[in-house]
Symmetry: C2
Subunit: 344 residues, 2 copies
């Protein structure tokens, strides 16, 4: 059943059917009702591809979740704790505005090819990237080709940077890390360790910087011995915990994210140490499990829901208003205090 058949049955032309379906003003109520009746009766819905070919824009937004860590599917479930609320909010915000979300996982560099295709072949009217390294060249290429993109956590280098020409949403990793570390300092801790996240991400780098700044502001010497590298996975947190405990036991640990916190906690508990009695710990992200841990984890909450809706709303705005629309958000973060730290 296509528009021509509907037109014939309703006794009008395809043009009129189109006008009615698209809710244009210049159709008298009588004609409109006549057409609508037939449309309803035959359950007619215009062919999406035909509409697009004829010039209407796609109401589909791509969401590209970049997760290059090569680990088991178990691991994938774990990191999804970070992506999952974001994804939900993206879908929710989009659906409310009659947009649909097409999700792709980017697990290896080659997967960017599929992402590009979605833009180049016009399946999507814009795309959101989350989880990428800083300075991802593939994302840069897409922006340079003039497509609408929103990126979560990406640094801008200078005025000329390609990333000025997109919608950028960064959380205040530096500030959050500073607050987390400072909280520990205020509690009386001096020997504070930091488990670093993925240094390829701006978050990994900035959280380390925030940690250092808090220490030096408090006049505490930064000891490299207390800084251990991880990569945001639970497993890397566990290994970091092991390494730390074998070296020099701190009174507090600021982990780069919650997944690593869970790993560190496992290492600590296996060493028969208690949290927070022996070691205090604060995480980052506030993933769902954080509040169910024993003791409940003190952590820096990232408002992923809010960031997601900003991304979607701005992207829709950018693709509906033809003129180039860009934006740059910096989202403040908040420490949520639970039971994993004690004062000494």
């Amino acid at each position: 059943m296509n528009s021509l058949e509907i037109a014939k049955i309703a006794g009008v032309s395809r043009s009129t059917v189109s006008r009615v379906v698209n809710n244009y003003g210049n159709v008298p109520k009588e004609t409109r009702d006549k057409v609508l009746e037939v449309v309803k009766k035959y359950n007619y819905v215009p062919h999406a591809s035909a509409r697009m070919l004829a010039g209407m824009k796609s109401r589909i937004i791509g969401l590209f979740i970049i997760d290059m860590k090569e680990e088991s599917s178990y691991h994938k479930m774990t990191t999804s704790s970070y992506f999952s609320p974001f994804t939900n909010a993206v879908i929710d915000t989009a659906n409310k505005q009659q947009y649909n979300i097409l999700i792709s996982l980017i697990n290896k560099p080659r997967d960017f090819k599929n992402a590009k295709e979605m833009f180049y072949n016009k399946t999507i009217s814009g795309g959101i990237f989350i989880g990428g390294n800083n300075n991802e060249p593939d994302i840069r290429e897409i922006i340079e080709e003039g497509y609408k993109v929103a990126v979560i956590e990406q640094d801008i280098n200078d005025e000329q940077d390609t990333f000025n020409k997109c919608i950028l949403i960064n959380s205040d990793s530096f500030g959050g890390a500073f607050d987390a570390t400072n909280y520990l300092i205020k509690l009386g801790h001096k020997k504070i360790s930091h488990i670093v996240g993925d240094m390829g991400h701006r978050t990994g780098f900035l959280r380390l910087e925030g940690y250092k700044k808090a220490l030096s502001d408090a006049g505490i010497i930064i000891k490299n011995n207390l800084i251990i590298k991880g990569n945001y996975t639970e497993e890397s947190g566990y290994k970091a915990g092991l390494k730390l405990l074998s070296r020099e036991i701190p009174t507090a640990i600021f982990a780069g994210n919650d997944s690593m916190s869970i790993g560190v906690i496992r290492a600590i508990q296996e060493a028969n140490l208690k949290i927070p009695d022996d070691i205090s710990i604060v995480g980052f992200d506030d993933i769902e499990v954080a509040r169910y841990l024993q003791p409940a984890l003190t952590t820096v909450k990232i408002p992923l829901f809010e960031m997601a809706s900003i991304a979607v709303n701005n992207l829709i705005k950018a693709s509906e208003e033809d003129n180039s629309f860009y934006a740059n958000y910096k989202i403040p973060l908040e420490l949520v205090i639970r039971n994993s730290c004690r004062s000494i």
Copy 2:
């Protein structure tokens, strides 16, 4: 840059460009290379809508997550523990076969309208539904219109049932509930309560049946006093726990899912009772947090990853082979024993 321009530059016709791009056999290597070079140079990707209009099929599959519980966004994060691994696996399986996934949330009956549109306007070549009530009339309508659909957890009434004409994937809720209850019985429990899930879902109904069967097989009288209604949310579990404790305290509880278990546990702990010392508890689903709870939750694991890839693979098969292909899977479930139960 469209196929005609590419054709001109390469000195061939659009037909040939099309043949090359689509990798047809009847093009000599020389011509092929010449075209490919231009394609590469100009970054040409055929317009997806044009291809579809010309008859190629969409490589997009819809995933419709039905979640009608009206609660806060906090709640949404919680239920996503169940949907999230499924969603991940769906995307993963599809991406591996060059399919993309378009996700929509169905939070209210009206949202089915959007789902139907995606089928009717040919955006998707098939769709997967999860989280629906038994006998969802909207899904039935889509199947009856001849579209390819896969449904998770849906009963078939008889040979004529519309749901015979789709890909059905059910987990063995009855068996899982039977095993869970039986495990408690073997541990010596006689006063076993059940927190019922959503009775509109086949899982809610069947888990209750499995529970009853295990009791009666063991010669234990089924007491309505010990059966409390919930709706799969943590909050409903909490309320059920409160109600139960005020009535008659059981030695063990089999909760219809893990989220409700978490709620029940909260109620139990608030009453200063200990798990498993005072009350044993077993859940259902094995969501991510289950293993992090204190004590770690014994629960029935649903292999959502596996179910997701079955859904995707069968759906792709169904939409690529024109003839009608249907299937009906029943997935066995396994009890994973952790520390939330004790023998008495």
